[in-house]
């Protein structure tokens, strides 16, 4: 079996296997993908995301996004190559979290690779545009004066705002948030807030290849952070309702406790899908 590093140039080799929502991450600096080739056939492949790789305050981790293997031998070879790649980066821990409905044979592959597996609710919450329409926060129609949609923003001002938010927020955020371009986000639905001529909050929504929406960043760091956040959510919800059909799915990641509380505030009682959680300490 031969290892093939998957990049934007050769991603079509996994066209039939790789889900489109995962495929669009290939090319982002924190994502890696490899495939094991047996002749002309792909016997196994995986995509993972590095976290805290260049962060001295935290131990670097690898989060597996997607795995496929036709049999245990292919899976074993896959993880052998994976282990070589992550050891070069000094990864301390590997983590995998999948919805039970999507896990399939991944559980056995992970167990065989030495992952300890537990059942755990997935951190993402899935709602629809139709669910947004029922939110109490939408009863107020007025847009705050300090709120601006992203389509109104110059790139340089956007970057300044992103850096301002990153350096002032304690919220967990995407590894490559500082470098993602403005056109990664749905600029009609995403928005920001300003105070004293500075952007100090963003609500950023990305439209996945499958048509689903995913909230990539929601934080406000100004003096009226709580009100700003609610105003941004209201604005984005209105825009999303105008633009997308009711059944459009929205993914709300709960990366930390703050995000959990915020999602819980708007969707009380909402739970993530039942899932499997695996982790492995790396040498």
């Amino acid at each position: 079996m031969k290892k093939q590093v998957i990049t934007e140039e050769n991603i079509e080799e996994l066209d039939e296997l790789l889900p489109e929502d995962i495929a669009e991450n290939i090319g982002r600096s924190s994502y890696q993908a490899i495939a094991m080739e047996e002749g002309t056939e792909t016997s196994a492949a995986m995509v993972w995301e590095y976290r805290y790789l260049e962060d001295e305050n935290r131990d670097p981790q690898s989060h597996l996004s997607w795995i496929i293997a036709k049999d245990n031998k292919a899976g074993e070879n896959l993880f052998t190559e994976y282990a070589k790649d992550i050891s070069e980066e000094g990864i301390v821990k590997s983590v995998a979290s999948f919805a039970a409905s999507e896990a399939g044979e991944m559980v056995e592959i992970l167990k065989a690779a030495g992952f300890s597996i537990t059942e755990k609710e997935v951190s993402n919450i899935h709602v629809t545009i139709g669910d947004l329409e029922k939110l109490d926060v939408l009863k107020k129609k007025k847009t705050a004066a300090n709120l601006r949609p992203l389509d109104d923003l110059q790139v340089r001002i956007f970057r300044r705002g992103i850096m301002n938010c990153i350096f002032h927020t304690k919220r967990e955020h995407l590894e490559d948030l500082a470098t993602l371009p403005i056109d990664w986000y749905d600029t009609d639905v995403s928005c920001c807030v300003t105070s004293d001529d500075r952007i100090d909050g963003f609500f950023l929504v990305h439209r996945l290849s499958s048509g689903r929406l995913r909230v990539e960043f929601m934080a406000a760091v100004g003096p009226d952070a709580r009100i700003d956040l609610i105003n941004m959510i209201r604005f984005s919800a209105f825009r999303a309702i105008e633009k997308y059909p009711k059944e459009t799915e929205i993914i709300l990641p709960r990366r930390d406790e703050s995000a959990e509380k915020l999602v819980g505030y708007f969707f009380p009682g909402a739970k993530g899908e039942p899932g499997i959680y695996g982790e492995r300490e790396e040498k």
């Binding site: 600096s29 805290y52 790789l53 260049e54 962060d55 001295e56 305050n57 935290r58 300090n146 340089r156 970057r159 300044r160 850096m163 301002n164 990153i166 350096f167 002032h168 590894e175 490559d176 500082a178 470098t179 300003t194 105070s195 004293d196 500075r198 100090d200 100004g222 003096p223 009226d224």
Partner: protein
């Protein structure tokens, strides 16, 4: 209206307050501070104190056996002094609000809420015939107005106290400003005024403001007079605190501007995150200190600054000439940080 007041003691307090304000005027000032909202509020407070002292002197110095006209003058002066005390407390609250949030927009958005105690005071005064019947009092309008004004002042004192506690939680470990130290003389002035009948609220404020002004002047020894960033002395102070473990800084970016450093300092102010901690060294080098440990974020920030410089250099003849080598460094711990900073 203070009952049983000894005018000589009041005059003495007012004279001391005036001298403190005069002393504050002699402190060397930074011209840039004139544009700062916080400084403007501070100056407004000083103006209130001066006007309050003037009207208090009018009230106190009016001779005994005064004519009917003189009585009106005393009453009007008394009312104005009370309103100036209320104004002073409101401005003090605004000043602490600005110190805490450093945002004019925040004050603009909340000004109606902040003026609510004053609105309630005005409404109570306008509806005095109704409230008089409601509370069953038979006192004079001015007496009731005085008590309403005391309630308004207490409301502003309470709001300020909340801000002070928040300020202390957020900034308590930073140098230069000790909020409870200035609150103490104000409280003493209010207590003495209320219980002993000697009006020394203005003196209390003058002492507190004098402390703030001298503290601010003292802090300027850490400020570079050209760029208004911190200077090398501040770096020494930071190094000591890092070595002692009382301060945490995880990283730095070192920029070197070989050309127009004033223009570069303006670009840093624009491109860097709000309230960034930047030290300006003598040789055109600027050090940005941060709590982030992420090299990715530091590099992204340095690229943003570089883009700002490239734009500037492209359109100006006096160029900034930022060095190609922008150093981004993450510290392992406080001792390592102190060592690196010492080598700058």
């Amino acid at each position: 209206m203070i009952l049983g007041e000894d005018y000589q003691i009041t005059l003495g307090f007012d004279l001391v307050a005036f001298m403190i304000l005069f002393g504050m005027c002699l402190i060397p000032k930074d011209k840039r501070e004139g544009r700062d909202t916080g400084v403007r509020i501070f100056v407004s407070m000083a103006v209130c104190i001066v006007l309050g002292i003037i009207f208090e002197l009018i009230r106190v110095l009016m001779p005994e056996g005064v004519s009917k006209f003189g009585i009106y003058v005393v009453v009007i002066a008394d009312v104005i002094v009370e309103l100036l005390i209320a104004a002073l407390l409101f401005l003090f609250f605004l000043y602490m609000d600005y110190k805490l949030y450093a945002s004019r927009d925040h004050q603009r958005r909340h000004i109606v809420l902040y003026l609510m105690p004053a609105f309630i005071f005005v409404i109570l005064c306008l509806l005095w015939p109704v409230t008089r019947k409601l509370f069953g009092t038979d006192t004079h309008f001015l007496a009731d107005m005085y008590y309403y004004s005391v309630l308004m002042e207490l409301a502003y004192l309470f709001m300020t106290a909340v801000h002070l506690i928040k300020y202390y939680i957020v900034f308590g470990k930073k140098p230069f400003f000790h909020p409870f130290s200035i609150y103490a003389p104000v409280l003493c002035g209010a207590v003495i005024t209320y219980y002993l009948g000697y009006n020394c609220v203005f003196l209390g404020f003058a002492i507190g403001m004098g402390f703030m002004a001298f503290s601010s002047a003292d802090s300027r020894r850490f400020i570079d007079k050209d760029t208004a960033f911190f200077n090398r002395a501040y770096l020494g102070y930071v190094r000591e605190m890092l070595s002692g473990g009382t301060l945490k800084r995880s990283s730095m970016i070192l920029f070197e501007a070989k050309g127009d450093r004033m223009a570069f300092s303006d670009i840093l102010r624009t491109e860097l995150p709000a309230h960034s901690e930047v030290v300006c060294l003598e040789d055109g080098r600027f050090v940005f200190l941060s709590d982030t440990g992420s090299m990715t974020e530091l590099k992204a920030l340095s690229e943003l600054v570089r883009d700002g410089v490239d734009d500037y250099d492209g359109s100006h003849s006096d160029k900034i000439l930022l060095s190609d080598d922008i150093q981004c460094r993450v510290f392992k711990d406080g001792t390592a940080a102190a060592g690196i900073i010492q080598g700058l």
